[in-house]
Amino acid sequence: MAKRIGSLDDMEQLRKRIVSGIDPNKTMVTICGGTGCQAYGSDKVFQAFTEEVKRQGVDVEVGVKATGCHGFCERGVVIVILPEEICYLRVRVEDVPEIVSETLVQHKVIERLTYEDPQTGEKSVKESDIPFYKHQSRIVFGKNRFIDPKSIDDYIAIGGYEALAKALCQMTPEQVMDEVKKANIRGRGGGGFPAAVKWQTTRSSPSDVKYVIVNCDEGDPGAYMDRSLMEGNPHSVLEGLTIGAYAIGAHKGFVYVRQEYPLATENTICAIEKAEEYGFLGKNIMNSGFDFTVEVERGAGAFVSGESSALMSAIEGRVGEPRPKYIRTSVSGIWGKPSNLNNVETWANVPLVISKGADWYTSIGTEGSKGTKIFSLVGKVNNTGLVEVPMGTTLREIIYDIGGGILNGKKFKAVQTGGPSGGCIPEQFLDKPVDFDELSKVGAMMGSGGMIVMDEDNCMVDVARYFVNFLSDESCGKCVPCREGLRHYHKILERIVSGEGRESDIELLQDLSDVIKDASLCALGQTAPNPVLTTIQYFRDEYEAHIKERRCPAKVCKDLISFYIEPDKCKACMICLRNCPVGAISGDKGLIHVIDQGKCTKCGTCLDLCPTRFNAVTKLSGEPVPPPPLKREVTREKGSEQ
């Protein structure tokens, strides 16, 4: 049983004791154990390292640790060898013996595993030299890579729970509140509401029972910031939550984790147990007289349960349905008691403010948005992953400097920020600084941090349809504008992408949008029109092409495209013919292949498989498919390929 920490002195001694047990010069292999890298087999890589260092007899000199997510998910499994900071990417089990013998034993760098810039070919050995990391400032997320999420000592070693000790032993709740107010932390869940104002409301609401809640019901498609933080560094969230509870006067906290995040649940439960052992949670924390316990609540998989009043209903054991919030949840929340809810990332920022001070914190970011923000940068971008930058960083810096630009040298078309509530931002706004206020001005929002990059091959009508489809499934269905509005949105967009759009449809969409926005009960409905409105605003020509010309300019919408084999390019190699799942391609060796448009299901297999040196399969849209060639024999040039 660990010793209960009773004072600031105790805390300092504990940290010193833990740190003294760690040799800073000892080689430590940190292996990313985030969900992305786990999918690439990081568990097996970890196991292979543990066995291999033993086998090669360096297990005394070398430590091996599975950590939280490092962020560069595109290149998983990511490992960093400390203290030299040698970063190896796309590591597989087969690479492990070589890494141990070459790098760990002989201190030689293995070039092929280091980062190579796709454009310049330049290599970077050190993690901090890799452009993806170099342009970030990972004050919240960066700690993940030093910590085994199941080890509270790891967290304490890098200064964890010092902020809690400071708050409880040296500050009054009012002082904590003032510091958070001065820091102007705004809600990272998307709303951007000042945390201190919310805290103050709950604090001053008269009630003997108050609650604080961590919202880890992240559900935006493509977003996984909160997941990775909760999985990788659960103590930072618990520490922030406890500090908040102290300031607010709450003695009970909930962590609401969605069912789909088993690792986050596991690591949070483990963290709560460890924190209780040291007395960071429980009765009379650090002898301050303050009691606080935390419980994990699992969601049942409804997107709308991320909305505060719906989430609180779910905690009460009822259906996760929003209620009108004319009386705020911070006044009347769970079981009618004042309940303060903040997002995972918001809570994780609190210890920073307390330990480093509001002055330091406000030196980062823009006038209205302080600190950093974590984004999940996904889509058609070279470096997919989690990115933390100061508020005010431009979209261009995030997508090009950190993200490494668009995949396969294609042309950027739009970036979808803020998930289904956000909007699609076109190229002309790439130099917009990203913060709570600037993106709203162009009809999108920063939201909780989802960032989906789209290129010339994305159809914007199809993108709008995708998000509307998502929302019509995920709306709770209670209020008419959201439920029925989305039903018709969906119908209209479906007919546009299938070439049945009507001339009046754009106007009808806009007309419905005004009402869905104005009259819906909760933020899900109020923001649901954003993907539709921004795509109409910035890509109206694409809507018109679908409706008026039955043409999909990006050649995505299946009903409006045809696959066609160009006779002069086809070498009759049989690859597409053999692989067509519906047998729609006719031809033979030496006979030019032809797609039977009546049979074709437009799966695109032929296009994917046609060798790039032939490039014979193309997509057509808005034009008739030329009739099959009269002469089907392939004319072979001398020396041409079979």
Binding site: A302, V480, P481, D514
Partner: protein, 215 residues
């Protein structure tokens, strides 16, 4: 109980704290259209037909008057152009599900009849039956299932066939009349076949005739 003074459609209105805008308006004879509201039930705020525009200082916004509490100095407009547009479109959306619904209001707000594709189930998910059954009768025979556009009202078979035949009070509360229609087909078969069916107009013949009539 504290009293607040506010303005509704330019009229000075005194109301007791804790009342909703809708109640305050009713007391002075200002009629706000409603659909899912019933004074025997807790306010629900789902149909949004009772939306009104409120002004606090410079800011103006839309709220549902059946749930928004009165406030000192509040300025309420119950028929602003923004509000009228909302009612018009909400009625249009509802009438795509239940043709002929609220005919008078539809005329008043000049609701378009042709823009939206019709999908006439006649259940508009106002929840009056569900809430009445739960709040007034304490029977909980009806409930919502599904989410989003898949949301539906159902009778729960195992209690319905025992409780409903002697009650039938929800027949009158249903604004579209779909409950009796569904009930007649569904409830008698529950004893033998306890399967959940969504409440919707069951009689296709009647439906066709009905739609013909209103067109």
């Amino acid at each position: 109980m504290k009293q607040v003074t506010m303005s509704i459609d330019g009229k000075e209105v005194k109301a007791k704290e804790g009342m909703t805008i809708l109640q305050a308006a009713m007391e002075v004879g200002i009629k706000i259209p409603t659909l899912c509201y019933d004074d025997r039930l807790a306010s629900y705020g789902a149909c949004r037909l009772c939306s009104v525009e409120i002004k606090k200082g410079e800011r103006s916004r839309i709220v549902a008057s059946c749930v928004y509490p009165v406030e000192e100095g509040l300025v309420v407009e119950t028929e602003s152009p923004r509000v009228q547009k909302i009612r018009k479109v909400i009625l249009e959306l509802l009438r795509a599900r239940s043709p002929g619904l609220k005919e008078e209001l539809a005329e008043r707000y000049e609701v378009d009849k042709t823009r939206l594709d019709r999908d006439a189930t006649f259940c508009i998910l106002c929840g009056l039956c569900v809430r009445y059954c739960a709040e007034v009768k304490g029977a909980n025979v009806l409930g919502f299932v599904g989410r989003g556009t898949e949301r539906q009202v159902v009778f729960f078979p195992d209690i319905a066939f025992k409780t409903c035949p002697t009650c039938k009070e929800c027949f009158n509360i249903c604004p579209t009349g779909v409950i009796p229609s569904d009930f007649a087909v569904n409830v008698p078969r529950f004893e033998k076949q306890p399967t959940v069916f969504p409440v919707r107009l069951r009689d296709e013949q009647n439906l066709r005739e009905f739609i013909k009539k209103i067109e």
